[in-house]
Amino acid sequence: MAITATDLGVVYRSQRRGDTVALQHVDLRVAEGEFVTLIGPSGCGKSTLLHALGGLLAPTSGQVAVDDKPVTAPDPWRAAFIFQDYSLLPWKTILDNAAIGLRFAGRSRAERQAKAMEMLELVGLANFAKAYPHELSGGMQQRVAVARAMAMEPELLLMDEPFGALDEQTRQKLGDQMSRILTQNGKGVVMVTHSLDEAIFWADRIVVMSPRPGRIIREIVVDRPRPRDLDFIASDEFGEIRQELFRLISEPVEETAADATAPTGAVALRGGRG
């Protein structure tokens, strides 16, 4: 199952502030099982793109399609969201939160509780099934959000800065766990992040976006088998990609196909678009 965005455009309309072009002429294809990270300066529309890919947001122009069928609404069985602020429902227990997609799909209580428990065990939170979100730390809540998404057994996970609200240590710990879970299950992932290290470490392919109005200015392939050890971070390849990314983000330049040069071991697939 591949998700394709074709000539995607999203414009936010407001009486007071006029129209804001969030995304412009975005073409993106996410292949099955591929891990793609979206990175770019603040306000570049990466979250907007993610929401559009998942059908949460209707594009103003262009379209999003799954295997050539246009996407008009969210379908958690196909692509499940994990939001930056976890957005667990505070009045539901951890178990009920994890089971929520199944509840909306009308599954029986027994079935959804069993599945939710299975997912909670996967993320190591089975003991907290009866607790409420406010009793859990940020990292734990994020794991519940992951369990919630995984319970749908989607082919694709859409993650919006999943580690954004966490401190460094929690981030690393959670990252380890996630790496294990994701690779085990062979899921495709589109992950929005503002951390260069995360963008490189996780991705098969890094999509770099320009500041608003958001366009894709570069795609960088990271040619290393997953899951990766932490010593990948210390490697030359990592360092070169990081430098390139840093350059791209801090001075967004118009890139053309001809200019795109590849750091060692990585191939830039596409150049900038006008």
Binding site: P76, A80, L89, P90, G101, R103, F104, S137, G138
Partner: protein, 288 residues
């Protein structure tokens, strides 16, 4: 919702160091405060009684506390008094049910249909802070001098407070929680049951509490105005006969009951909102 890291089971808290064996046990701040409050109240009672004994305050003007207790015993052993209490109570109940039901219905209507809210909520807000008592003559004209007037008037007053609080409650609904329902493909009624209702619960609770308060209160006020039976009529009667002690007994009775109801309601709210990290301190101050 706060995302602050709380001491959780994940990070096991270190055991609190036990106090040194020789340390005196000091009273907590709250306990001290309580003691002082009790002392103040007792002190006032004593001053009051002494002033009464010394004849500084005429018994007609304000009977001393001991005499008051005796009077109260008289009052509350009188079947007629309880009959009046029952009569008022019934009117309060009806007023509460009608006013609160309407308030919740309209409150949710406003909360969910933005256009209606923008058009008419300011009017509701205005009337909420307008003294309702100026409408008493109107209601008496419309409903006549019988039990319907207190019920209608109190329901009318109650409605505004409930409505405003429910609208506030709906305002607590967060877009990001609704987004979860959308992202996980919940149907429209699941939006209501799984997000809107639980999120707006604090506002609805506050609304119901104000519903109780005002149903009780406005019935009493209109009863004070005109003789339709009930506690208000008794208060009028005792006042005309200069039976200050009786007036005081009845009033204190109502005051104590309403304070009790208040704390009961608080207790109930705490139980039903175990999922909240901290109790919402209700800041909306209401008016007559």
């Amino acid at each position: 919702m706060s995302v602050a890291t709380r001491p959780t089971a994940e990070e096991a808290p270190a055991a609190a160091p036990s106090p040194a064996p020789r340390e005196r046990r000091r009273l907590s701040l709250d306990a001290k405060a309580r003691l002082i409050q009790v002392a103040i109240l007792l002190g006032l009672l004593v001053v009051w009684q002494v002033a009464s004994w010394l004849g500084l305050i005429g018994s007609r003007f304000l009977p001393g506390p001991i005499e008051l207790v005796g009077t109260a015993a008289d009052v509350f052993s009188d079947g007629a008094v309880w009959g009046a209490v029952g009569k008022s109570g019934l009117a309060m109940l009806f007023a509460f049910v009608i006013g609160t039901a309407l308030g919740i219905a309209v409150g949710f209507l406003f909360g969910l249909v933005q256009v209606l809210k923008d058009a008419f909520f300011p009017v509701v807000l205005f009337f909420m802070s307008t003294p309702k008592s100026i409408f008493i003559p109107l209601f008496l004209l419309l409903f006549g001098i019988n039990q319907n007037a207190p019920i209608a008037f109190a329901a009318f007053a109650t409605f505004f407070y409930v409505c405003v609080n429910v609208v506030g409650g709906v305002g607590l609904v967060q877009e990001r929680h609704l987004r979860v329902v959308d992202a996980y493909r919940g149907k429209w009624w699941q939006r209501i049951v799984d997000v809107i209702l639980p999120a707006s619960a604090p506002g609805v609770f506050a609304g119901v509490w104000y519903g109780i308060k005002h149903a009780v209160f406005e019935v009493l006020i209109i009863e004070l105005y005109i003789s339709v039976g009930g506690i208000g009529a008794l208060l009028q009667e005792y006042s005309y006969l200069f039976q200050t002690g009786r007036v005081l007994s009845l009033v204190l009775f109502v005051v104590i009951v309403s304070l009790l109801l208040g704390s009961l309601w608080n207790r109930l709210e705490s139980r039903l909102e175990r999922w909240k990290p901290e109790k919402t301190t209700d800041q909306s101050l209401d008016l007559y």
